[in-house]
Amino acid sequence: MKFFFLILKNLRRNLLRSTLTVLGTIALVVVVTLVWSILAFLDEVTAEKKSNLKAIVSERWQFPSQMPFAYADTLTEGAAREETDVRPLDNMTWQFIGATLDPKNAAHSERVFAFAMDPNKLRTMMDDLDHLPADQAAELDKAIAAMNENRQGAIFGKEWLAILNKRVGDRFTLYGRNYRGIDLEIEVVGTFPPGGRYDKTIVIHRDYLNNAIDGWPRDHGGQKHPLAEKRLNLVWLKVPDTAAYTRMANQIQSSPFYATPSVKCETSSSGIASFLDAYRDMIWGMRWLLAPACLVSLSLVISNAISISVRERRQELAVMKVLGFRPIQILVLVLGESLLLGVGAGFASAALTWYGINELLGGLKFPIAFFPSFLISRDALWWGPLVGGLAALLGSFLPAWNACQVKVSEVFAKVA
């Protein structure tokens, strides 16, 4: 404990230097925290899970996938035909809608992108919406119930509402861009929980879209809508484990029902990884250039501060040796000063970043793939001190070694 107080006392002695080192460390740990949070999220969504995994069924070749809606009935059952076939635990279908609020100026007005799906699947199949805090869950459940009552109901992410300058209760028309001629009059019945991946999501009831497409021939001389047979974009299936997934994927891909177009079944992590492949060089740069360079810069900043401090205290270190301090104790003293600075600044930096990005900004907007924003991982609260501490140890080892090697006779000879 005495040693700890001695470390604190030493740090307080040159408060300006300690403060500058702490501030420099805080700034550089912010960058590492941001980069690692993005990478940790991407690693998590692309890691193959062993249990409770989700599979995506999509058109085999074309992107974006477009399948007939007739596929939905059997695909949601995992193409099971026999009693012994594997059936998914849960499922959902996605239909993509591109729309505008201003049909006369479609090319330049605000472009809206929405999913049409069964709203009851929101709480069971959509990531993160299955374990919301009680108040947010109740609010979302209320919105889902409203959508079930009113098929024209839609749930909006907060960011979309802000962009479109709308609020809950507003009614307006979405003029179809991909479903040309299909105009959907919708009512905003609720919002997604704020500050997450659903801030830029809009969900409308799939029955409303399908009824509009099915009703198209009545006004168009019996002709089907051009996208009538291409309206199903993705089918999501939840399966208990990889064995069940493998069997179900075989059932789907070998089924004769899905010939034109043919379909493919992949785990959601594999699908996302394919999409992220285009960003691989940038992700590599973030992982192996940006974060390490920040760590090295951090070590240099700390190393410089500790070196200066050791140089200024050579006489004092010599006196300590005379008083009986062993070299290892002096080494620990100097390393301790640096470690305390690094760990403290690292924690402060991570905590500030976590609070600033998650609570104040509602996420870090970084344009990778279809993720609207990234949240700072809670793990940052231990990465930060660890990063600060490790950089401090690395940066201060040499100055600390020099400190414990101080020769009493040389120092006093100079003084004399």
Partner: protein, 455 residues
Amino acid sequence: MIAAVPSTPFAVSLWSLTPLVAGVVLVVLLTVLGKVPVRYNIRNLSVRWRTTLMTALAFTLVIALMTVMLAFVNGMYKLTQGSGQPANVLVLSEGSTDEAFSSLGFSDIGDIELVDRVLRDESNHPLASRETYVVVNQPVQVRQPGRPRGRFTQLRGLEDAALSGLVHGLELEPGGRWFSREGVLSLEEGKAEAIQCVIGEGIARELGRDRLPEQLAAAKNKERLEVGETFSLGGRTWIAVGIIRYSGATFDSEIWAKRDIVGKMFGKPNYTSIVLRTASAGDAARLKQFLSKDFSKAAVQPYLETEYFASLAETNKQFLFSIIVVTVIMSVGGIFGVANTMFAAVSQRLKDIGVLRILGYSRLHVQASFLLESLVIALAGGALGCALGCLSHGWQATSVISRNEPGSSKFVVLEMAVTGDTIAVGLTVALAIGLLGGILPSIKAMFVRPLESLR
């Protein structure tokens, strides 16, 4: 023929040069007006060489990183600015903002290419490229460690590849040819014919990595797929009959093949777009105006080709913003680092300052002397950082350009470009860090009392 926008790797614009020049002028002024001999500063820096080196190295890292990141975004901008021909008009179906979602009928296409102002070739055919653009999920044959099982490949179906090459200002590398009218080639008797295609230089490198060991062993070029080599896509064998010469355009990342085959295979029977070549940028603007206001035969959405590709720069802007944020945060760290070094320098040289003051140097001379030191460390570290960052010039990297709207993404292979602007910005940032980090310590030095410091 109007060539694609040429790359000007070391062009410097006034906006990036002005602050750098101001910084350099400041260094020169401090040297000239400072009075304290520069030798004194140089000696101090060399005596404390470890501290100087470590501070300069921190600069080097920050500036080198910034240079590499900016080179990446420059590569993206080069693509979005260089892909469109100024005299071309890209026509999509009404309301479409991207060719991926556009659908033009056969009769529409025929009417559009016959409008006035569209140039014609020697055989009096309109210089119009009829196109069907699809993005295809291509399973990867040889899975690289840490890479997914599939990639998204961009495919452009064309009627007449040579004509399309002419319209887009693209040429083939020597030894290649455009695909034939039939678009297929018999490789072995009794087996399905291979689909002929020409491929961009960027996608040729991607496909080159996807060769089986025996294919790789027999390959003339280990780095990329070459003319005569085959690959698999959509359950069929494709043969590269030509490689598009690198142009710095998005087409470098595409596969071009016969439209009839592509449309049928991937469920896009209609055209997605038609690109019309006019005589000049002015004509293109007039043609766009005509097609959007007065053309009544089909409902279309015309874009200047340059304007269309420029609209894909949304991701570039967001990346640039992120780079600025990261650089600013790292620079703040750098400022504190320099301030630490310079405060220590002032503390260690209190007696020197006292002597200088007694010798008659004014407070401003002392301040100038310390500020100069800080700027010199910054400039040296920054210059080294820029030099290191320059090594990334010409590296190829994969990325995505998009309008920030689902489905508008183009998967591209870009060439990183360190420009004169990048270097100017790097040196300016280094000088700014040096100035901000050195200003407070130099003020402290300025107010040192000579007699007290010598006691």
